[in-house]
Each structure stands twice: as C-alpha cells, then as structure tokens.
C-alpha cells in the first residue's frame, strides 16, 4: 500500500504496539536548561541512567543573556538553571554546548548546523518548536518534561499515531525577497486556525516548497505547532543532502545514507492523507499579526478587522478578537501601515539564521533606525553570528542603530533580560504573539525579518514590496 513520508518514518521506528499506542525509538534527543532539571531529578530519585548519552545533546538557550558573555549572569534563578544543566550533563555524561562554546545557540538552530538533525530520523526535545527539524525530512516534535525523563531513561517514547495532514503550497511568489517563508506559514495559520493541525503531522509539499532553501523550510516547519500540529515535515531533496554534507555529526558513511534517503524518504504516489489544504502562493502579501494568537493575522495592506468581521458568526472567536484588540491597544479599521512601533526584535528559532539576517540587512544597509525605535538582532547561534560577522552584517546593523547581540532565544519569550515593558509594541520575527509573551503587557506583532527591518527604519509597518530589495 502506498505510504506517506510520515508513515514510513513512523513505521521504521516502532518497537512494540499495544492498545493502539506505539513505543517509538528516538534517534536524537536535544536538551535545554528550562524543561530538563526536573527530568534529571526524576532519574536520580529512581536511580536511573541516561540510556544513550551518544544520542543526547544539550545546550543552554532560553535563559542566557545576550549581552557580554564575559560578565556573570545577574539573574540568580537563571544562573542556577544554567549551572544545573552543566552539573546534570557532567553527572550523566551528556555532550553540552555551554554558554562559552562556539557551538552554543538556540537548540533548533544548532541541531541542523551540527548535522545532529538527519533525514528519516526521529528527534525530540522538551520544546514545542522541535518541529523545525522536520524541514530535513525528520519526524521531530516537542515533548513535556515527563517525556524528557522517559526518553533519557529509555530512548523511547510511547505515543498514539498522529493523523496525516497534507499542505500543498503551489505557485510562484511575485517577489520572493518580500514574500518570505514567514508570510507563507502565517498565511496558512490564518486560514486553518491555531487548532487546524491538532492531532496531525503536516507534510508541506508542492512546487513552492521545492523552491525554498533549507533555512526557509525550517521557518515553515518551525511554526507547525502554531497551527496545533504535532510536527511538520518536508521530504528531503538534493538541497537537504547538500546542506548537511560535511557537518560535524553526520554519519561517516554519509553518501550511503544519502542514496538510501533519496530512494525512500518520499510520499508514494497514491498515498492518502487524512486531511488536505492548499495554499496558492502567487498572491500572498507580507503578513502582520494584530492579535494575541498567530491566526489573528492580516495582509500588511489591510486594516485591523472588526471583531464581528473576524468572528464570522462565531461568538467565541468574536469575543476573542475583542479581547485581543483591547490587549493590543488597537482600534478596528486602523490601517496596519499606520501602526507605530517601539521595538524591533530580529531573532528566535523561527527567523535568526544567516539568510534571515542577510535579507534584513539588505533593507537596513545605508539607512538609520527610526529615533523612536529600539531595535535588536539576536543571531540564532554563535556560528550564525560568526558567519554574519564575516559578511560584515554586524557592521550594517550597528551602523544603522541596531543592537548586535549574543545568541539565544532572547526576546521571543523573554526569559532573559530582553523583554518588552508593559504597553510597548514590537515588530518581532518570533513565533508567538500571546499575551505577555515578550514581557508582561508587551504587544507583539509577528512579521518576517524584512518586514521587521523595514518597520525599524520607518517606525511603523510598511509594505516591503514597495522598497527596493534587490
């Protein structure tokens, strides 16, 4: 019977099945400081070891300051959490890319960078954005701390098989520099909703996906969870194999694997999906979120919707939009391009890779950040930072008035000192515009890196299609 890519990966990892659930083998386990301390404690209490230290990799990203790394961490609770991860990795024998490592970075940025992420593998991490790794044709998903402990102890995870969801993206974007992968995924979430993918694994397919670079595919898979999906993936192709070739942790007989992946890792023709959705990329515009979940998003050319218009007869949705606009301090009918901003954040596991920074720098080059705006760039990893500096991007950003910082999750969730003050409005390349996400009372608008860069210059949102991006 023809199978989907997800089903092939799933089936090849099932160890036992019982009561409709499967025990799946986990090929790679990524660990960070926030969701792991209680898991290691659990191991200690029950006198258990980490089963496969060779398949487990850790870094610290959520809590780390993005300021000068030679200075001590002022926030004591953060410092304790970071120290705890160091201690746990040492005690249990796990490879750690610590705060001073040239490989430190956001866990979902460094996994692919180091070749830990591989096609056809299963990857888990105590973080919902683990779906990012699906861009390589891996089955990658976020888990809670109890499951982190379970995987540390057993290298397996027990779960019910998710349903399959095909999202076709076809058509040529009119201006691929202005209409980015971020705009594609926000357009999808806007249409299918934040629970549109619940219980499923999404496979992104179609000619638009084939055209995207690996980093762009990562942006799309990253936000699968924002549509409620357990994971999102893209079938690997030559771009995937080329991206990983020569990276530190890929297997020694890499080319043999590539031949196998090329042969096997695709959805068979005639395979059936449980659910299907198509997005035509020809006519999508740059996206800007205006509410408190990622589905509350509009084209940059539109006005803030009226709650009745947004709810389309659904009272709960209407009430949600009303509350969201109240929180965001926005009036229905306002043109999105009239919204003034206070802060700009370019970073996060969604949009902090080299290409993101290169694209944003094109807008910034030779211009100045609006005097009303505080703008920062937080590269996703030390390697991204180094590569960007070699290209002189740091200078472009700094000359324009951006802060150029050390790598980490930073203001995507504000667990470190990078936060919004109450009432501050931010154009952010991150993935969640939930209430208080970037700081209590802070107001987040999700946008692409080029849209964020342009907003920094103009002090309000602008349609980047009107700027010269070449």
């Amino acid at each position: 019977m023809p199978q989907t890519l997800f089903e092939k990966i799933w089936d090849s990892h099932v160890i036992v099945q019982e009561n409709g659930r499967s025990l799946l083998y986990v090929d790679r386990h990524l660990v960070h400081e926030v969701t792991s301390p209680q898991a290691f404690d659990g191991l200690r209490i029950n006198k258990r070891k980490v089963r496969r230290t060779d398949l487990t990799f850790a870094t610290m990203d959520h809590n780390v300051p993005t300021s000068d790394r030679s200075l001590p961490i002022i926030d004591q609770t953060s410092a304790i959490q970071i120290k705890t991860l160091e201690k746990n990795c040492k005690e249990f024998g796990i490879t750690l890319f610590d705060i001073n490592s040239p490989n430190q970075g956001i866990v979902h940025v460094i996994g692919p960078e180091l070749g830990i992420t591989l096609p056809g593998t299963t990857i888990v991490c105590g973080d919902s954005h683990t779906s990012t790794h699906g861009a390589f044709g891996a089955l990658a998903f976020g888990i809670g701390t109890s499951d982190v402990e379970h995987v540390l102890a057993t290298q397996c995870i027990m779960m019910e098989k998710p349903k399959t969801f095909e999202i076709n993206i076809s058509g040529k974007r009119k201006n691929p520099h202005a209409i980015t992968a971020k705009d594609i995924i926000l357009s999808i979430i806007k249409k299918i909703g934040t629970a549109g993918g619940t219980g499923t694994v999404i496979e992104y397919r179609g000619d638009t996906i084939s055209e995207l670079t690996m980093e762009q595919r990562m942006t799309i898979c990253n936000m699968s969870i924002e549509a409620g999906a357990r994971a999102g993936l893209v079938a690997p192709d030559e771009k995937t194999f080329e991206y990983l070739r020569g990276r530190r942790y890929v297997p020694k007989n890499y080319e043999e694997y590539v031949n196998m992946w090329r042969e096997n890792l695709k959805t068979d023709s005639g395979a059936k999906f449980d659910k299907s959705f198509t997005l035509h990329a020809d006519n999508i515009a740059p996206q800007v979120s205006w509410g408190t979940n990622p589905a509350m998003t509009s084209d940059v050319t539109e006005n803030i919707p009226f709650p009745t218009e947004y709810g389309k007869g659904n009272a709960e949705q209407e009430k949600g939009a009303e509350k969201a606009l109240q929180y965001m301090g926005l009036k229905p009918g306002t043109a999105i391009t009239d919204i003034a901003i206070d802060r700009v954040f370019i970073g996060s596991c969604t949009n902090s890779r080299l290409e993101d920074l290169m694209e944003a720098a094109k807008i910034v080059k030779g211009r100045k950040v609006s005097p009303k705006v505080r703008a920062m760039v937080v590269p996703g990893s030390q390697l991204v930072k180094k590569n960007a500096e070699e290209l002189g991007l740091d200078k472009i950003f700094k000359d324009a008035g951006f802060e150029w910082r050390e790598s980490g999750c930073s203001m995507c969730l504000g667990m470190n000192p990078d936060i919004l003050k109450a009432g501050e409005r931010c154009a952010s390349t991150s993935n969640r515009n939930f209430e208080g996400r970037q700081g209590a009372g802070g107001r987040t608008h999700l946008v692409s890196p080029v849209m964020a860069a342009a907003a920094a210059i103009y002090g309000h949102f602008v349609d980047v299609r009107e700027l010269d991006l070449n």
């Binding site: 301390p37 809670g144 934040t194 619940t198 996400r437």
Partner: protein, 190 residues
C-alpha cells in the same frame, strides 16, 4: 504517581478559547528547577495586578471557586509552549480535572503524566456543564460525569485510564520491553 480517585467538586468556568500555556504559567516562573510549588503562579498575569493584588474580575479570585478541583475550559486549551509547568501549576493549585471540547496535543499528554484528567466533551455537553451551579462528580472508573439532573459519559484511551487509576510509572512500564529495545538498537544504527 497517586492513583486517580473519584472527584466531586464545584467546577470553575474559564470562559475563553485558545488559552495558551504562556497564560497558564508565565515564563518568569519557568526558571525553577523543581516540580512543586507552581500553584501560586497559575494564570498569574490574569490573576494579579502588577503589584500582586488579586484582580477582582478573574474567576480564580472568586471565593466561590476556592476549593474547586475541576476546571471548565474552552476549545484548544493548553496550546502553544510544551511547558509541563502548566500542568504542574494546575495540579498544585488543586485542579485534578480539566473539561473542554478540545486540548492541544502536548498539554493533553502532559496531563496524564501528572495524574490530571483532561476530558473531551461535545460543545453541547460543555455548554450544559458551564451552566451547572452545584457540585460535579467525575468518575474515571465508570467514565461518567454527574451533576444536578445531569449525567454524561466520556471517552478515554484505555492506556491512559489504566495509568491514572493505578498511578503507574510509565518509565517502568516501557522498561518491560527492554529486550525489544535492545534488539531494535542492534538492528538500527544512525
């Protein structure tokens, strides 16, 4: 884990869709390295003014619901971040049951790992529960919810039911398959 017992309590109605885990427990409380004591941070930014003064208009601050063990929620409850702290906070606060029309996947899974029972019911049933003023009884063994003149059943996977009722350690259960895991590891190397 403590075995799950029959629960009888007044239910706290949280009338909001798409409640994300950032709201259930805000990020500033994720820095703790232990599992306990998160109840005081549950819905923190909705529950308190800036200065830590309880907000009068938030349901958890209504004394009527002080000892409630059941939370009534709306669609897509627990979406967003995978933080298990959200369930630790609900549990530590005293909620042992959450009833909604739908839950986000990771949150749903995390509940069972901590002895909290998430129950999915139809929109119609949820509406009825939202209007119940008296105590509600949740019986996992018989998969039933009862209240004043109201009785409904709910579905749950047998696997989760067993784990909750017996308070099982799922790592120990997985390790019963040690032989198969070793076999798999021998045959598959990457």
């Amino acid at each position: 884990m403590e075995p799950f017992k029959k629960i009888k309590s007044i239910a706290t109605p949280l009338d909001k869709v798409n409640v994300d885990t950032d709201q259930i427990v805000p990020k500033q409380f994720l820095k703790l390295v232990q599992r306990t004591g998160f109840g005081q941070y549950l819905f923190y930014d909705w529950r308190y003014e800036k200065e830590g003064i309880p907000r009068k208009d938030f349901i958890l601050n209504d004394s009527k619901y002080k000892n409630s063990k059941i939370l009534l929620a709306r669609d897509n409850f627990g979406c967003g971040s995978s933080r298990e702290h959200a369930v630790w906070a609900l549990d530590d606060y005293g909620f042992k049951v959450v009833i909604s029309t739908s839950f986000a996947d990771i949150f749903y899974n995390n509940c069972f790992k901590n002895g909290v029972l998430p129950i999915k019911v139809s929109e119609e049933s949820l509406q009825k529960l939202f209007s119940v003023k008296s105590e509600i009884e949740v019986d996992l063994e018989n998969q039933s919810i009862r209240a004043d003149g109201l009785s409904m059943s709910f579905d749950i996977e047998p696997h989760w039911k067993k784990i909750l009722l017996e308070g099982l350690d799922d790592i120990a259960m997985t390790l019963l398959h040690e032989k198969q895991i070793v076999q798999y590891e021998k045959a598959h190397k990457i």
